[in-house]
């Protein structure tokens, strides 16, 4: 296993963890305006309060790894997706601060609640749109982006943005089901069937649209039939989620929703390989020279990355089970 592959794996893991973990707390933000009253809102917030900013830091880990190990992709993607990245950062900042400041004031609570919701929607929408743009293909020549400021903004990208909002809302609802009792849990169960239906419609629409515009990535599925294992995994997960919904099994929903995300992520990642930016920059082309990767490996790779994983696991272990009331929060 070469250092390049090791760092590509670390980056993939950091991004997957980001999508799964920040996904559910962004989802709670997306569901926030529809909650039945302040009491449910407080329960929703207390279900994500101990973990949300730890979740967000995986984005920083992914960014740092990308810059450190794959500077070419870091430079190309962030500049090509200029406005989405700026909106993502502003959304995350606003959201993170709003989360805390809503409890510092009564008079301005509407402001921070607004910030929390707007930040969650904006961050999710641009994440989805960025993935959509990447799937559709960015105009890159000789390792440099040659498209315009809004080249990322296509109907397909917007569809993906909306789809990710549905997806995050789904995994957020499942998190609420697993973590809370009473009103927030009932709310989670209430919205879950609709979200699941919407997600399936979105996937179908995305597939049909991709076929209609003859997306090059689809060709990969014919070349590599083993990729079908991921959609199969997705179907099993949807079945599990429906089962959990029917039997009101609180512990089944979140793992099944996570499995749906894993299946989608695996589908994309496996059909990208060996490209990092589809059909223009491969992993090997993007990698920093050996001396850089080695320098990064001896400290960050060997110690900090595993330590961070262990710490994340420990926090989730400490926070396992249902949130007991709101006494934990303030």
């Amino acid at each position: 296993m070469t250092l390049v592959n090791l760092w590509a794996g670390a980056l993939a893991l950091a991004l997957l963890l980001y999508v799964l973990l920040d996904g559910f707390d962004l989802g709670v933000g997306i569901l926030f305006p529809f909650a039945p009253g302040e009491r449910a809102r407080r329960h929703m917030l207390s279900a994500i309060s101990p973990v949300w900013d730890g979740n967000e830091t995986w984005l920083v880990v992914a960014g740092a790894t990308l810059f450190g190990a794959f500077p070419l992709v870091y430079a190309t993607l962030l500049s090509a997706l200029y406005l989405p990245v700026i909106v993502l950062l502003a959304g995350l900042i606003l959201r993170g601060v709003a989360f805390e400041f809503r409890y510092k004031t009564v008079q301005f609570r509407w402001l921070w609640d607004g910030g929390f919701v707007v930040g969650s929607y904006a961050a999710t929408l641009v994440q989805g749109a960025a993935v959509g743009a990447l799937v559709q293909g960015l105009a890159v020549e000789n390792g440099r982006y040659v498209g315009g400021a809004f080249a990322w903004l296509s109907p397909f990208a917007l569809l993906c943005g909306a789809g990710l909002c549905i997806g995050y809302a789904l995994i957020g609802a499942c998190w609420l089901i697993g973590k809370t009792d009473n009103d927030a849990r009932a709310f989670g169960y209430g919205v879950l069937p609709g979200l699941l239906g919407a997600l399936l419609i979105f996937l179908l629409a995305a597939f049909v649209y991709a076929a209609a515009i003859d997306l090059p990535l689809l060709g990969r599925w014919i070349e590599r039939p083993y990729l079908l294992v991921f959609p199969l995994l997705g179907i099993i997960a949807v079945g599990g989620l429906i089962l959990g919904l029917r039997t009101r099994n609180d512990r089944l929903s979140f793992p099944m929703a996570a499995l749906i995300f894993l299946a989608a992520y695996g589908t994309l990642a496996a059909s990208f390989l060996p490209y990092m930016v589809p059909f223009s920059i491969t992993i090997d082309e993007a990698a920093a020279p050996e001396s850089s990767l080695r320098f990064l490996f001896w400290g960050a790779g060997l110690f900090v990355f595993p330590l961070t994983l262990a710490y994340t696991a420990a926090v989730y272990f400490i926070f396992r089970g249902k949130v007991v009331g709101e006494a934990d929060y303030h």
Partner: protein, 470 residues
Amino acid sequence: MDMTPLNLSRIQFAFTITFHIIFPAFTIGLAAWLCFLEGCSLVTGRSIYRRLSDFWLKIFAVAFGLGVVSGIVMAFQFGTNWSELSRRTGPIQGPLLGYESFTAFALEAAFFGVLMFGRNRVPPVVYFLACLMVAVGTCLSAFWIMVNNSWMQVPTGFAQTPDGIIVPTDWSAITLSRVVLVRFPHMVLAAFVTSAFCIAATGAWYMLRGHAVQEGRAMLTMALRLAAILVPIQIGFGHLVGDYVHDLQPAKFAAIEGRWEDEQPASEVLIAWPDEAAQANRFAVAIPYLGSVIGSMSLTAKEVGLKSFPPNDRPPVLIPFLAFRVMVGCGLVMLGLAWVGSWLSLSERLYGARLFLWSTFLSFPLGFVATITGWFAAEVGRQPWTVYGQIRTADAVTPFLTTPQVATSLAIFASVYALIFSFGVLYIYRMLRAGPIPARDHGRQTTNPKRPLSVPGGSPGVDAAAEFGR
């Protein structure tokens, strides 16, 4: 200045990083201060140290949170606005800045949590060690930033491939260069002095108001005496930084000195208004020979002037020239305050010297101003280069950015920052005004390790929230 994507990107970077540096400049010093207090508490067992430590920990937490939040933007801005720089120097700057993010994250993950909620769960020695680790971690973060920036000032240990990619060849030359070894202490000392003056000013404020007088005295005396030792050392390191600039960045040195012509022996311009169009200084007050003494420790040395450099290799003069003088001025005022205050503190006179207390109270921004103007001198003085002598700023910017794009992002950042920082600063002010919590309230101190901004304290929302919960 034309509103080109390049200039707007520079303004955006300057704006976001200036906002950001305020918080690390404060927290690096506060972390060390907390360590010192915990150490004193451990050794002497006196309760005042514990009260001070608990109080400053809350301030530290909010400032740390705002520093982390504003730092996220920095981690991505190299790619969004400076993609050519990232593409070409990524093999060096990527790992260095990557280490900074990883260090900050590891520190936050592992030890900050212990500080925030571990008081009653771990033995005092372990708590002290956690404090120490946070302090070491903040300094380590600063170390990586200084390594990265010093490499941009004086690049070493690299080779360039035919297609312009800069590849590291000697990491020890990069991480432990002469420039790093003087600039890293200069930055850490700046942070320590900044925090010392914030602490002294808070102490003076309490004494003027007759509020929390015992704690106020302790803060004032400790911080002033610390500053009395640190400020002269800092001025010494400042001189060493000047030496490297003199030897390795002569155009920047000439701009900071406001020296247009080659001079032998050179005079030292104390104050002036450099006129870049006329290539001369107006209203200059200069001392003969002193320029050669400062530059080369000699009465006869020749010192290089700006006109020796081609116009397109010269930095702007006005900003480095003025920023440097503001920095030095702040340093000298702080030196005076620290020495006078330490002298007064040897007797009881300090506590009745209202004029001195007012001066100290009003001195709280000096450290921040000195830090920021010092950075302005360093960064603007490096122009027109981003990586000195290697990559021009004009070639570092993302080539396809448009003015509306950058204007939009700048407007977004400006409004979001204005919103969150005005509330953040208001919240810190409220906590400072309220003062250390009396001992009986200690039991109510609970907070969440991962959420530094959520520390409880006198604010209407918290009490209302608590009532709602019942």
